[in-house]
Point group: C2
Chain length 309, copies 2
């Protein structure tokens, strides 16, 4: 078995299209993944913005099977495989590794709050020991404002020591640059790859020695984000960052996931793409109008997206 | 099909024993359920204190099958069937109803935070419409300090109006008596049955017109809690409540679930009962010693528990 190359660059937590009956829609998902790859953006399928936790384990495994069958390369995928239930996390992670995924993005178990680092260490350790596959590369997923279960620097240190090579990096979605900086300073030199949790920190993360970002807005603005990743050492990098920030601000002014799906629906001429699973709610007509007006004012588009159908 | 009788009384979120390999242990679970029933305590299997969210859907369904096979009556069960994933909640709820469960205790989907009442309404509505079984009785589960997704009075009002009879009541684990009181005043007269989230509020809840409590410490102190439920109109009710509070305070001074399991292990002479799944951690030796000393000082015991093996 080959050890996969370390992941780097821009990844997107791929939004998951749903059919009218709210079942996952593999055809639309495959098309979206292919477009993202064409824009040089990797696939963090089953992330927060994928509504991954609104889907069952079986639904996610089936989608991953279909993506593989469609020729989406595992090496460009970092599926989310963390779960509340130990057995779910093991099953999802094993399945992702079996498909040759370049990494697994792992939330901690997130139901119980105030759990100890001992308990979180044991959670990750059990998954690693049970999956028991030399190809496994875990990216920790720190998103305390949603999971309410933070991943501390002390926990990272302990995991890195126990499972060097397997603990491959982190997505820091805290939005707290001091935290990202601390990870870059302490762990990146040990080969622990730090992804910023959005493109807002992409330039800062690259300047700090990080390896890229994993970002919701990668779903709709992939080309320009990937360009900044490739050219962050160019003189216009700050101007590029400012342009990315302006687009992101528009999506952040609305519920993010419904807004991403509304944009994908609008620019793809495919209204069905806007569907979300409860507890999320699709944008209402006024929100959609506001979104499209703001995007138009920025001259925003999704090049090649409508042709990809 | 018969419509089940409305549930009332004392229920316990039944602690789930695990084998050495952390798989659920049905033999120990059945024994514990039988003992709880012998103490007049009903079975809210798959609650927070059951580590339900640390188990997969398949593990929970299998356990429920085995409980039914062991003769545990569905009418005495209120399984937890809420889940982050719509499809999981539907599958678990349908399965529980299929086993004749007297009710289903449903967490809202709890991954996404700050979701709207529209989204939560849609979540419950989808489950109800998909299960589509006249026997379905849903008890909402309000435990904002863990789920971080509160169930508002406005949401209850809306659900009750849309699904009268199906929306059967609530477990209020907020620990906020004002909230429980508001539910009792506004909704109990409409046949929406309010269970206090612990025995701390059992007497107050009964005096306010509620129907009982669902409580973690029901796992270890079932007889005295059930007695207060039966005799809450007797002159010694306040003294009974004080005695229950004293026992509960001991368990609350430690991590609750590991402490419950440690007590069950100790009084049952069955060390294996203490196992928990990550991210929880079993009590350490010092915590165990403290717990047993405090319980001994109260003259606490679990009558009949060691004989139930």
């Amino acid at each position: 078995m080959n050890t996969p190359t370390r992941l780097s660059g821009v990844f997107s937590p791929v939004i998951t299209p749903f059919a009218q009956d709210l079942s996952p829609d593999p055809a639309r998902l495959i098309r979206h993944c292919q477009w993202l790859l064409s824009q040089d953006v990797g696939l963090a399928v089953f992330g927060t913005n994928s509504e991954a936790n609104s889907m069952s384990v079986a639904e996610k495994m089936k989608l991953l099977d279909l993506l593989a069958q469609a020729g989406i390369p595992g090496a460009r995928m970092m599926p989310g495989t963390g779960a509340c239930a130990l057995t779910d996390a093991v099953e999802l992670t094993r399945h992702a590794v079996g498909h040759g995924a370049g990494g697994a993005l792992m939330l901690p178990p997130f139901y119980y709050k105030g759990v100890s680092d001992d308990g979180l260490f044991a959670s990750y350790a059990e998954v690693i020991e049970r999956v028991a596959d030399p190809r496994l590369r875990i990216y920790l997923y720190h998103i305390p404002q949603v999971s309410n279960v933070p991943i501390s620097l002390a926990l990272i240190e302990r995991l890195l020591k126990a499972y060097p090579g397997v603990i491959a990096g982190i997505k820091d979605s805290s939005g707290n640059w001091e935290n990202t900086k601390a990870m870059l300073d302490r762990f990146q030199p040990q080969g622990f790859d730090v992804f910023a949790g959005s493109e807002s920190f992409l330039l800062a993360n690259m300047r700090g020695g990080g390896v890229g970002c994993i970002t919701a807005t990668g779903n709709v603005n992939p080309g320009p984000i990937a360009k900044l990743y490739r050219t962050w050492q160019q003189p216009d990098a700050d101007a590029q960052q400012a342009a990315l920030d302006a687009v992101r601000a528009i999506f952040q002014s609305l519920p993010m996931i419904p807004a991403l799906k509304a944009a994908a629906a609008h620019f793809g001429g495919d209204a069905g793409f806007a569907a979300v699973r409860p507890p999320l709610v699709a944008l209402n007509a006024q929100q959609k109008t506001e979104l499209m007006a703001a995007l138009a004012a920025q001259g925003f588009s999704m090049p090649g997206w409508s042709d990809s159908k």
